[in-house]
């Protein structure tokens, strides 16, 4: 390790010691029967608890940023520190030793996906105005991509942006918009040339979520909470300098975001849900229910453990390659598929062990509480690109298999058959 890196580590350590408490127990260790009896993926906190967590996330991000750890790899002209990726990974590893507020409301979408997109495709006024504010925790960003009639086929989106002098006027409906209710800005994909084929008539914009005409309505999930939303855009005016990339060049911009999304979802290996289905935790589940001698349960545990540990190895190796300066490869898609599968199978395994105590709350620790995760796992196979789309991507980009033949990439968008056509408010 270089002297510079040693100095960086010492500085990060000093910041963390002064601003956070070190964890008593390493985060991988299991404490069965202790602590809050909750296993969450999506939260279903009441709004006041949710608001408090968001405020804590913003405050921690501000402190990180002011100390030089908020945007370690970012360019200095926009408030970044200009260090290589490895410094980021080193800081994350150090911070994991401390109890700090969960900042995923900022990092997962805003800093993980939209920040890099603005940096790559934004005009100067947008970069100057939003990048430092995002990385300082002041601005939360959401992703205005999916629509009722444009899910997996995102490029068939219908929200329009029409030019009016130095401004654009945006009208349409977005859906599945996570954290829109906390967001100050959104990255919107809009149809700007309906006479061109679908991929060639889209433009990307940064929209001020407090602008007149933006209406955010919460959407309740099957797991009970409401972390995502419908967003209605009614003649929302956006200055042209808030456009990302070229006019009609929005698909390329969107690909930058989506690439970062897959890396972001698959990389959640250390999250609380993944910990709940980790081999030590599932072993503790078996033990607590007196099933450690059950051959069928042991076999299932071993199968789950092998896949999970191998997925960990896959992620570790991806991190090592990133440290060595490589770009994220197809392993991000593999990692995302495995993450969904591991979490789903782990949750069902724990449910099976809990038995009837899963379907009725007997008050016993670590039984009924699995429901939250169990009810969240179906989303993992859909969000950030459905499994079916991920498999198409792997087969086409990695294995070179031909695309499904179709007319949809050459025909003008307005001539294509679309879901819900001719009806108001079609379904996805």
């Amino acid at each position: 390790m270089s002297d510079e890196m040693d100095a960086f580590v010492a500085e990060a350590r000093e910041f963390l010691e002064a601003n956070a408490t070190r964890r008593d127990v390493p985060s991988t260790e299991v404490e069965w029967g202790r602590g809050e009896d909750r296993i969450t993926y999506f939260g279903d906190d009441p709004p006041e608890v949710d608001a408090r967590k968001v405020a804590a996330a913003r405050e921690w991000q501000r402190r990180r940023y002011d100390a030089g750890f908020g945007w370690i790899t970012g360019p200095p002209q926009y408030g970044g520190r200009g260090l290589p990726n490895v410094a980021d990974l080193v800081y994350d590893a150090l911070e994991a030793e401390y109890d700090v507020p969960d900042t995923s409301v900022l990092s997962l979408i805003g800093l993980g996906m939209i920040g890099p997109t603005i940096l790559a495709h934004g005009q100067e006024p947008v970069k100057d105005r939003y990048l430092p504010a995002m990385y300082r925790g002041e601005v939360i960003a959401c992703q205005l991509f999916s629509e009722p009639a444009a899910g997996s086929d995102l490029a068939s989106l219908e929200t329009t942006a029409v030019r009016d002098g130095d401004e654009w006027v945006i009208t349409g409906q977005k859906v599945w918009t996570s954290i829109a209710h906390h967001a100050q800005i959104g990255m919107a994909l809009c149809r700007t040339a309906p006479d061109k084929p679908k991929h060639k008539g889209i433009t990307a914009f940064i929209v001020d979520m407090s602008a007149p005409g933006v209406d955010v309505r919460p959407l309740r999930q099957m797991s009970g909470g409401a972390e995502f939303n419908e967003v209605f855009l009614d003649e929302v005016r956006v200055p042209d300098d808030h456009r990302l990339g070229e006019v009609d060049g929005g698909w390329r911009v969107a690909l930058t975001t989506l690439m970062n999304e897959r890396a972001s979802v698959g990389g959640e290996g250390a999250g609380p849900a993944a910990r709940a289905v980790s081999p030590p935790f599932l072993t503790a589940v078996l033990k607590a229910h007196g099933r450690l001698g059950d051959a069928a349960a042991r076999r299932r545990l071993a199968e789950l453990a092998a896949d999970q540990i191998a997925t960990e190895y896959l992620n570790l190796q991806a991190v090592r390659r990133l440290r060595a300066g490589a770009q994220p490869g197809p392993e991000a898609s593999v990692s995302k598929l495995m993450y969904a599968q591991n979490l789903t199978r782990g949750a069902h395994f724990a449910a099976e062990i809990a038995g009837p105590r899963l379907i009725a709350d007997t008050g016993e620790w670590g039984t009924f509480s699995w429901n939250e995760l169990l009810l969240s796992t179906p989303a993992l196979r859909i969000l950030g690109g459905t499994e079916e789309i991920m498999k198409n991507i792997l087969a086409e980009r990695v294995l070179g298999l031909p695309k499904e033949p179709g007319i949809d990439s050459t025909t003008p968008f307005r001539e294509l058959r679309r879901s819900g056509q001719g009806r108001a408010g079609g379904k996805a």
């Binding site: 081999p279 072993t283 450690l292 042991r298 076999r299 545990l301 071993a302 199968e303 453990a305 092998a306 896949d307 540990i309 191998a310 997925t311 190895y313 896959l314 570790l316 190796q317 197809p330 392993e331 593999v334 598929l337 495995m338 079916e388 991920m390 498999k391 198409n392 792997l394 087969a395 086409e396 990695v398 294995l399 070179g400 298999l401 031909p402 695309k403 499904e404 033949p405």
Partner: protein, 374 residues
């Protein structure tokens, strides 16, 4: 200990081995050799040593080896698995070579390792008996100490390349506990019976030992530790081979799916076929990661996980992945994949024989749990 080898050097090694094997062990040669009595091509074995030094690669430098480790060896094994090379490499280098190193008997090392390193000697390790278990606690084969030294009595089964090996390391029971012995392939009292095998590219034999003279290797009673270490290395080596074989299957499937036309389109454009190939890729990537991590772990690379866990994980994940990919490969090919002429069945056979070589699912899931402390 492994020296530091750069990514570029590993890639160079891979290219050299792949070029060699595509010239010497193409499908036609594999088919010829697998029909032969000996089960491997002695000329290719000699060339592997002379031209590429593969046998010496990971053996200790003080005994004629090059002193590299499992990270480098894994590259070689992956290519051998890809080419389905019929060869006593796994038995000689990984089983016997590692057992000699792990036993730490300087005399035995000096006697046998130089011959192995030059490709002159082939060798194997005989642990399993009639039940096929790699378990040193329940051995029936016994060693008796007499005036002229040790003699072995019993029966060993599923011995990899046991009918052809020049040197056989045998684990037998003594009063002190399980002990490692060396036996000459032509020793008096030794009857070697080649067994019919599912996978003709991987030969197994039964050994009947009727008072066979033997030399103890290492301290009497010390073989359990040796076998544990060898098993970790063997599972790791096998994992690399399995990944190589699975890669060959997936490449064959993807290539066929791109070219085979039905209903007026390449079949790979149908999502049913496309997703089947993507599922194969996912399992393969996972297996590849597990095999690499295990190689790092047994080689003692900085920051690598516990070798016992990593090797057990790799053995489970790579065994399952290879079997899955080899079976799906036949499905993607349809009828042609079920013919004798098509190589798909050779991989299918190798996948199954590798999965079951050290006990199979009945053993490897429990082994993983025990390595995890469950």
């Amino acid at each position: 200990m492994s020296e530091t080898t750069t990514t570029a050097e590993l890639a160079e090694l891979r290219t050299a081995v792949r070029d060699f094997l595509s010239a010497k062990s193409g499908e036609e040669q594999v088919r010829q050799v697998m029909e032969s009595e000996r089960g491997y091509d002695e000329a290719v074995w000699a060339q592997m040593a002379e031209q590429l030094g593969l046998q010496a690669l990971a053996l200790p430098a003080e005994h004629g080896g090059d002193g590299y480790g499992f990270v480098e060896l894994a590259v070689v094994l992956e290519e051998m698995g890809r080419a389905l090379l019929p060869s006593p490499f796994l038995s000689t280098i990984v089983l016997a070579g590692s057992a000699l190193v792990a036993a730490g008997d300087a005399g035995a090392q000096a006697a046998h390792l130089p011959g192995i390193a030059t490709g002159k000697t082939t060798a194997t390790l005989a642990v399993a008996e009639a039940d096929g278990a790699w378990d040193t606690a329940s051995l029936a084969t016994t060693a008796i100490r007499g005036d002229k030294g040790w003699t072995l009595r019993g029966e060993k089964c599923f011995v990899l390349d046991g009918a052809t090996a020049d040197l056989i390391l045998v684990v037998a029971r003594t009063d002190e506990g399980p002990t490692l012995f060396s036996v000459g392939g032509d020793a008096p009292g030794l009857t070697r019976t080649p067994l019919r095998t599912l996978d003709a590219t991987r030969r197994l034999a039964r050994l009947d030992l009727a008072d066979v003279p033997a030399v103890a290797v290492g301290e009497p009673g010390a073989a359990a530790v040796v076998v544990d270490r060898v098993l970790d290395l063997a599972m790791t080596a096998l994992a690399a081979e399995q990944v190589g074989g699975a890669k060959a299957c997936l490449e064959a499937s993807a290539s066929y799916a791109r070219e085979r036309v039905q209903f007026g389109r390449p079949i790979g454009s149908f999502q049913a076929v496309k997703h089947q190939c993507a599922d194969m890729l996912v399992r393969l990537q996972l297996a590849d990661a597990a095999a690499r991590e295990a190689a790092d772990a047994v080689a003692g690379v900085d920051g690598a996980p516990d070798p016992g866990v990593a090797a057990a994980v790799a053995h489970v994940v790579c065994s399952e992945a290879y079997m899955f990919v080899a079976a799906e490969n036949i499905q993607v090919h349809g009828g042609i994949g079920f013919t004798w002429e098509h190589p798909a069945h050779l991989y299918y056979r190798r996948a199954k024989s590798s999965q079951l070589l050290f006990g199979g699912p009945a053993v490897y899931y429990e082994r993983l749990l025990s390595r995890m402390g469950v």
